[in-house]
């Protein structure tokens, strides 16, 4: 419990992973107003990177 970065990192990695995979395998899913951008893929990757950074910070501090 002392290092909040770890559980938070896992949460965002998981959410990011789901969204990235959805964006990759169902890449035709687009927003009504803008069909050019694969929002799920971009946002999924962003969440994944953020979660990964938290995990990296947490494990680096531990070791």
């Amino acid at each position: 419990m002392d290092d909040l970065r770890r559980p938070t990192g896992f949460l965002f990695t998981l959410l990011g992973l789901i969204l990235t995979l959805y964006g990759l395998f169902d890449s035709g899913v687009r927003a009504p107003l803008d069909a050019n951008i694969n929002v799920n893929l971009w946002c999924g990757v962003a969440l994944l990177v953020f979660g990964g950074c938290l995990l990296w910070l947490s494990y680096r501090a531990k070791s």
Binding site: P7, L11, L14, V29, I37
Partner: protein, 550 residues
């Protein structure tokens, strides 16, 4: 707006996660202070993010986006002129006394500094206000989900309240604070893409500006006269009302946010809390206000987006955020966006509940009903109060469905209730001569003066129950001026009565008042851990943002 399985999956993962945090925080709870105050154990980066997240309720998110569409970039004054300078002030000058006094709550500080009646008045008004705000915000959310997602009002209100109840009951303040950090990240990551997509779709900031009236994209430029801007305020009302009375009143005296800073593990951490929180706070307008401004441009550009309409005619600005989300987020990201909205609601509600149970247990129950019980009894009372607080919030939410006008009135009152308090704390902390009688009657007069002004003036058909002495061009202007008047009334009455009553001896004022307190030494710490240099950097960033968007 229809949701798919993936959207619900994000929401369910988030619910499971907050409950998990609550369960993990539970191991730390042994005494009433563990449960209610976290006993000065929380690292500073966590208190800082919780400090702003507790204030980022769903109503704030929906309301700021709505104001962005209605008033344009002037809405950012709530952050750049209002919140941030007040946060710098409280970190530099007030937290040494809140934290150093070892008070467990803001009302308890008043008891230590002044007397029992001052504490009682503050604790009581705070408790009532907290429950009503929490209920009103729950009502707003339930209504929104009913409208947008066709979820039942009862089910969404009860489900979200039940989850907040479980995690605050399990881990107390620590659990609420830890979850607020996660909620803060979710709010930013869930709403920032909306802002980016909306502004990008509108052709970037330049393109967006070219489709809007110039007043929509400036903060200061159109404030010479109230008639120049849709907010209906001129520079004096804006600076003295919003920038001073309202914002300092809220950010420097409200226990809801102060509780987060007071949970920090050292006095240095407590002082850094609002200063570090000021950095993300400066950036929040880009996340919460920009989508609203972009929405108006998107409509002007005939992209296919339309501002939602009310059944009675006119634009329903409160729906801008959700309709924009439905248009710019595909299924998948939509789930993250809704999870962010849910997270903002929960952080606001948990903030209210954890502040309410502390004030009730220590400042009302322990001081008026049962003074000398063993600590385990207060822990039990704290838990019971948590349940009662959530139940009362739900009751208020249902009350709001039946008595809309009363809730409107209460919101008008809550809008200025903190303003006079800032005069009380300012005098109490920096003028040794201030007395308990002065503080008490100053607070009473300040509130009465505010209520009286509200009853004598009218704006947008609100207020003026006794007479129509003056009509303000907008509710905002009315609100700002009421805050100025009630702050001034409190200041004058507190000073006058203090001069005619006996002050506390100086020996009793250690750690409570400037001049008889040993201020914490920061020498030796790196600059970014010292309040002074941190405040200068925040101030510089603030000035730059103000210049860019003036």
């Amino acid at each position: 707006m229809t949701l798919t399985f993936i959207d619900y999956l994000s929401l369910i993962i988030y619910f499971a996660f907050v409950l998990g945090i609550g369960y993990m925080a539970k191991r730390r709870i042994a005494t009433s202070e563990d449960f209610l105050t976290s006993r000065h154990s929380v690292p500073v980066w966590i208190t800082s993010l919780a400090f702003i997240a507790a204030n980022l309720g769903a109503q704030e998110m929906i309301g700021m986006c709505a104001s962005g569409a209605k008033y344009g970039l002037m809405t950012a004054q709530f952050y750049w002129l209002g919140a941030v300078p007040a946060m710098i002030f409280v970190g530099l000058f007030m937290l040494p006394f809140y934290y150093g006094s070892k008070a467990r709550s803001v009302p308890e500080y008043l008891k230590l500094r002044f007397d029992e009646k001052t504490r009682g008045l503050n604790a009581f008004t705070f408790a009532v206000m907290t429950i009503f705000s929490s209920g009103i915000s729950m009502y707003a959310l339930g209504l929104m989900f009913e409208l947008v997602l066709k979820w039942s009002f009862t089910q969404s209100v009860l489900l979200s309240a039940a989850i907040v109840l479980v995690y605050t009951l399990l881990g107390g303040l620590t659990s609420a604070i830890y979850n607020e950090v996660v909620q803060f990240f979710l709010i930013v990551l869930g709403f920032a893409p909306l802002s980016i997509l909306a502004v990008e779709k509108a052709g970037g900031w330049q393109g967006l500006s070219s489709h809007l009236q110039p007043v929509m994209t400036h903060t200061w430029k159109y404030t010479r006269h109230a008639s120049e801007n849709p907010m209906g305020v001129e520079i004096f009302g804006l600076v003295a009302g919003l920038g001073f009375a309202l914002s300092f009143g809220y950010w420097c005296t409200n226990f809801l946010v102060m509780q987060r800073a007071m949970a920090a593990d050292t006095i240095h951490g407590a002082r850094q809390t609002p200063l570090i929180a000021a950095f993300p706070k400066i950036l929040m307008p880009f996340v919460v206000i920009f989508p609203g401004i972009a929405a108006v441009a998107l409509m002007a550009m005939s992209t296919g987006y339309h501002l939602p309409l009310k059944a009675t005619g006119g634009y329903d600005y409160d729906q801008v955020l959700t309709t924009l989300m439905a248009q710019l987020y595909p299924s998948g990201m939509l789930g993250i966006g809704l999870t962010a909205l849910m997270a903002s609601f929960m952080s606001g509600m948990a903030g209210n509940v954890t502040a309410f149970n502390t004030v009730f247990t220590y400042d009302i129950y322990q001081s008026y009903f049962n003074k000398n019980a063993p600590d385990q009894h207060y822990l039990w009372i704290g838990r019971v109060t948590t349940v009662v607080g959530v139940a009362l919030s739900i009751a208020t939410a249902y009350l709001a469905t039946a008595f809309n006008n009363i809730m409107d009135f209460l919101q008008l009152v809550f809008a200025f209730v903190n303003a006079p308090l800032f005069a009380t704390f300012l005098l109490g902390m920096f003028w040794k001569r201030t007395t308990g009688h002065g503080a008490f009657w100053g607070m009473v007069t300040g509130l009465a003066a505010g209520a009286l002004t509200l009853s004598l003036t009218v704006a947008e058909n609100k207020g003026g129950w006794i007479a129509h002495l003056h009509e303000f061009p907008s509710s905002m202007a009315q609100n700002f001026w009421i805050a100025i008047i009630s702050w001034t009334a409190c200041l004058i009455v507190t000073i006058l009565i203090s001069l005619f009553t006996a002050p506390k001896p100086e020996t009793e004022l250690h750690n409570l008042v400037y001049g008889v307190t040993d201020l914490p030494h920061e020498a030796g710490a790196p600059w970014y851990k010292r309040p002074g240099p941190l405040a200068v950097v925040v101030g510089l960033v603030l000035i730059i943002v103000n210049i860019i968007f003036w």
